[in-house]
C-alpha cells in the first residue's frame, strides 16, 4: 500500500556568507541592499583584470586542527563545517536524539580543495625540462609540497563523509557537484531522499571558495568576471545594462531538511516547506545557455508540477541572476515562458547583486535567502539596477526591498554545461 506522500520541511539553517556569519545579519544586509563586494585582500591580485570579490572576512575556524592551512587547502571544508554546525544547532535536531541511522548528509562542494604550492610545485617541476613530463621531478616535488589528506581532498564526497562522522550521523551520505547549480541540486536531492523514505532528515547544502590564485585565474581566462574594479559595490549588477560579468563570492549554506511528521513529532520549528524540485539540462552548448532557457523552463515547470501548483501561485523568484549578459537574458525569457502574461507581476530578485556568485555554494545560500523571504514576508532588492537591459523587462525589485505576501517562491541555479535546478519553497505559515 503506497504511503501518503512524505512532505519535506526546513527545520534549521546555517549560513556563512560574505558580510554575515549568522542568519539575522545575513538577512538584514540583504534587505537593506548592502553590497558585500570589495577589493580582494586574500592575495595579491595586482596581476588580474578582475580584482574584486565578495570575500569572507575574519573567518575563525573552530577546528584549527583540521582547518585552513597556509597553502589555502581545507577552506571549503571549514566553511561547510561551520554552516552545518549552525544549521544543526538551529534545528535542535541532535538534542531530540533522533535515530541517527535515519539522518543523512548531502553536500555539494567546489573544486578548490588543493593548496597553491601543492599544485604548482610539482607541475612546474615536471615541465622544467621543456617538453615531456618528468615524473620523477613531479613526485619529488609532490613529496615536498603535498599536504595531509590529499586523497580525500580530491572529492567533495570526503567533506560530506567527514561532516557526517563529526556529528555521528550514520544515514546515507552523498556529494553532488553540478557546478553553479549544485547548491540547489543538493537540496533537491535531499528532499528526494526524504520523500522516498531513504532518510527522515538530511543535512543538505553546499560550500565553495574559488577565491585563490588559480581559481580566480580560471574565471578571468573565460572573461566571465566583471572588471569594474574601481566600483566594487557596483560591479554586480544583474539585469542592468552596465553589467560586464559576475563577481566571485565564497561561503557556505546548510539546511536541515526533515520529513514533516518527524519534525512535528519532536516539536521542531518549521521554517518552510520544500514543495518541489526540478532538474533539467539545456543540452545545447557547452557554455552558452540556451537562448530561450529551455533547461531553466523545464526545471521550473518540474518543480511546480511536483508541488502540484500552477505558475500563477508563485509570489517571488530568487533568480540565478549572475550579472552576465547571456544568463540574465536567457533567464528572463525562461521566466516569461513559465509565467506567461503574469510575468511582470511576479517580483524577481538576485541575491548575487549583493553577495556575488558563490559558485557551488550559491544555490544553498540563496535558498536560505528565499526561506527568510518567506518568513519575513519581505523581498530583498536587486541592487545596482539603475538602467535595465531592455531585454530584461521584468520586475526585478530594483534597489529597494519591499513588503510582500508570498506563499510560494522559486529559487533558481543554472550551471556551465546547461544544468538547471529549481527549488519550490512554501512558507511555513501558509
Amino acid at each position: 500500500m503506497p504511503a501518503a506522500r512524505r512532505r519535506v520541511v526546513v527545520t534549521g539553517m546555517g549560513v556563512l556568507a560574505p558580510g554575515a556569519a549568522d542568519l539575522a545579519t545575513f538577512w538584514d544586509r540583504l534587505e537593506a541592499g548592502v553590497s558585500s563586494v570589495g577589493p580582494i585582500r586574500r592575495f595579491d591580485v595586482s596581476g588580474y583584470p578582475s580584482r574584486i570579490a565578495a570575500e569572507i572576512d575574519g573567518f575563525r575556524d573552530e577546528d584549527p586542527r583540521d582547518g585552513i592551512d597556509d597553502d589555502g587547502a581545507g577552506r571549503i571544508e571549514a566553511y561547510a563545517r561551520a554552516a552545518v554546525d549552525a544549521a544543526l544547532a538551529d534545528s535542535a535536531l541532535e538534542a531530540a536524539t533522533p535515530d541517527r541511522s535515519r539522518v543523512g548528509v548531502l553536500l555539494a562542494a567546489g573544486m578548490g580543495s588543493y593548496g597553491h604550492r601543492e599544485v604548482f610545485g610539482p607541475s612546474a617541476s615536471a615541465r622544467a625540462g621543456g617538453d615531456g613530463f618528468d615524473w620523477r621531478a613531479f613526485f619529488a616535488a609532490a613529496r615536498g609540497t603535498i599536504r595531509p589528506r590529499a586523497a580525500e581532498r580530491r572529492t567533495p564526497g570526503s567533506i560530506a563523509t567527514r561532516i557526517a562522522a563529526r556529528h555521528g550521523l550514520t544515514g546515507p551520505v552523498m556529494a553532488v557537484m553540478t557546478a553553479c547549480a549544485a547548491g540547489t541540486q543538493a537540496l533537491g536531492d535531499a528532499a528526494r531522499w526524504i520523500r522516498r523514505g531513504k532518510a527522515d532528515a538530511v543535512v543538505a547544502g553546499a560550500a565553495d571558495s574559488e577565491l585563490y590564485p588559480m581559481g580566480l585565474a580560471s574565471f578571468c581566462l573565460l572573461g566571465a568576471l566583471s572588471t569594474r574594479c574601481d566600483d566594487p559595490s557596483g560591479a554586480s549588477r544583474p539585469f542592468d545594462r552596465g553589467r560586464d560579468g559576475f563577481v566571485i563570492g565564497e561561503g557556505a549554506g546548510a539546511l536541515v531538511l526533515e520529513e514533516r511528521e518527524h519534525a512535528s513529532r519532536r516539536g521542531a520549528r518549521i521554517r518552510a516547506e520544500i514543495a518541489g524540485f526540478g532538474s533539467a539540462c539545456d543540452a545545447y552548448r557547452v557554455t552558452d545557455p540556451h537562448p530561450e532557457g529551455r533547461g531553466a523552463v523545464r526545471a521550473m515547470r518540474s518543480a511546480l508540477s511536483e508541488g502540484g501548483i500552477d505558475a500563477s501561485r508563485i509570489g517571488y523568484i530568487n533568480a540565478h541572476g549572475t550579472s552576465t549578459v547571456a544568463n540574465d537574458r536567457a533567464e528572463t525569457r525562461a521566466i516569461r515562458a513559465l509565467l506567461g502574461s503574469g510575468a511582470e507581476r511576479v517580483p524577481v530578485s538576485s541575491t548575487k547583486s549583493m553577495i556575488g556568485h558563490l559558485t557551488v555554494a550559491a544555490g544553498a545560500v540563496e535558498a536560505i535567502a528565499t526561506v527568510l523571504t518567506l518568513e519575513r514576508q519581505r523581498i530583498h532588492p536587486t541592487i545596482n539596477l539603475t538602467s535595465p537591459d531592455p531585454e530584461c523587462d521584468l520586475d526585478y525589485v530594483p534597489n529597494r526591498s519591499r513588503r510582500a505576501s508570498v506563499e510560494y517562491a522559486l529559487s533558481n541555479s543554472f550551471a556551465f554545461g546547461g544544468q538547471c535546478a529549481s527549488l519550490l519553497l512554501r512558507g511555513a505559515s501558509a
Binding site: 580543495s113 564526497g157 585565474a217
Partner: protein, 359 residues
Amino acid sequence: MVTPLGRGLAANLEALSSGRSAVAPAGAGEGPPGWKFAGVPDFDARPYFRVPKAIKLADRRTRMAVAAASMAVEDAGLAAGGLDPERLGVVVGTSGSDLQAEELGRAVAGEGERAAADIPWFADRILSGLNPLWLVVNLPNMVSAHVAIQLDAQGPNSAVMTDWIAGLQAIEEGAEWIRSGEADAVLAGGAEAGVLPFVMSSYAQGERPGAAGDAPSELALADGAAIFVIEDEGRARARAARIYGEILPSSGSGGQETGCLEAIRAELGRRGAKLLAVSRGDGGSRSARDDAWARVFGEGPEIVDYRPALGHALAASAAIDAGLMLARLRGAAEPSAVVCGARGYLGQFAALAFAGGAA
C-alpha cells in the same frame, strides 16, 4: 563501457574469460617507477560525438563517458530517436578533477617557487599562457553535461562525487528518478580517468587506500567508464527491449553496511531470487569489515573481484562491475540476482542488487 580491456561489454567479457589483465607496470615516462596502472589508450571519440566540435572540450574521462553512453543507447535499440529528450536524464558518478598538470606546468615551467611566491607573475603566466578553456575542461560536472549534449538528454541531470561509491550511487539515483516519474529513461553510471599525475600523487601520500586489517591491497589506478540506459520497466517491455536486469530499490539506510545488505537479502528472499554472485568493490581483502558480506550472504554466492584485471577506476569501478555482473544474469533459468558493492576511500559504502533470469 570503455575499460582498459576494451570497448563494449562483449569485448570486456571476452577478455576476462580468457584471463587477461590490463594492469601493468608503468612504462618509462608513463608514471612513477614501481607503480601499476590500467589505462585506457587514447581512442577516436568522433564516432560517438553527435556534435564533434565539443571534443576539444572533452577530457579523457568525458570522452569515455560519451562513448559509453552512446554505445548504451545503441545497445538499447534507442539510437534512432526512440527517446523523448525531455524525459531522458543523465547522472554520472566521478571523482575529482586532475587539473591537467601538464598544461599548468607548461605555463609556469621550472618556476614552481616563483609561482608560489610571486602571485602577480603567476597571474601573468596563467592568463597569457594557459588555454582559456581550462576551467570548462576540468569542471567535473561537465561529464554529465557533455553526455546530455551529445545524446540530447534534456531531463534531470546531475554529477555525483561521493568518492569511489559515486558511480553506484549515480545508478541508484537514476533509477529513483524513473520510479518517481521525473524521467522515463536515464543514462547513469560512472566515468573516471585515474591514470593522471595528481591522482597518483594524492594516493601516494600516506597509507595505501583499501588497506583493511593485515592484508593491504594495492591500488592499481585505472581509467574506465560504464553507462547504462535505465528505463521504466513498462516502457521497456512495451517496446520489447532486451532487459539485462532490474535494479532493485535500495532500502535500508545507505550508511549502514549491514543494514543495507540485510535489506537486500530480504528483498531477494521475497522474490525468490537466487544470489549468484557478489562483487564487493573493495578489493576483496579479508578483514573484519568484510564479515558483513559473509555474514549476510553466507558461502553461497561467488565472490567476484574485477580489480586485478581492470585496476581501480575509482568512482567508475563499481559501475563497471555492475555492467559485468549484469551479464551473469543472462540466460539464468531461474529468478536470480547479483549484488555490487562499492567502498570509498574513507570507508563510505554502497551496494545495489540487480535481479534477472526467468521469472
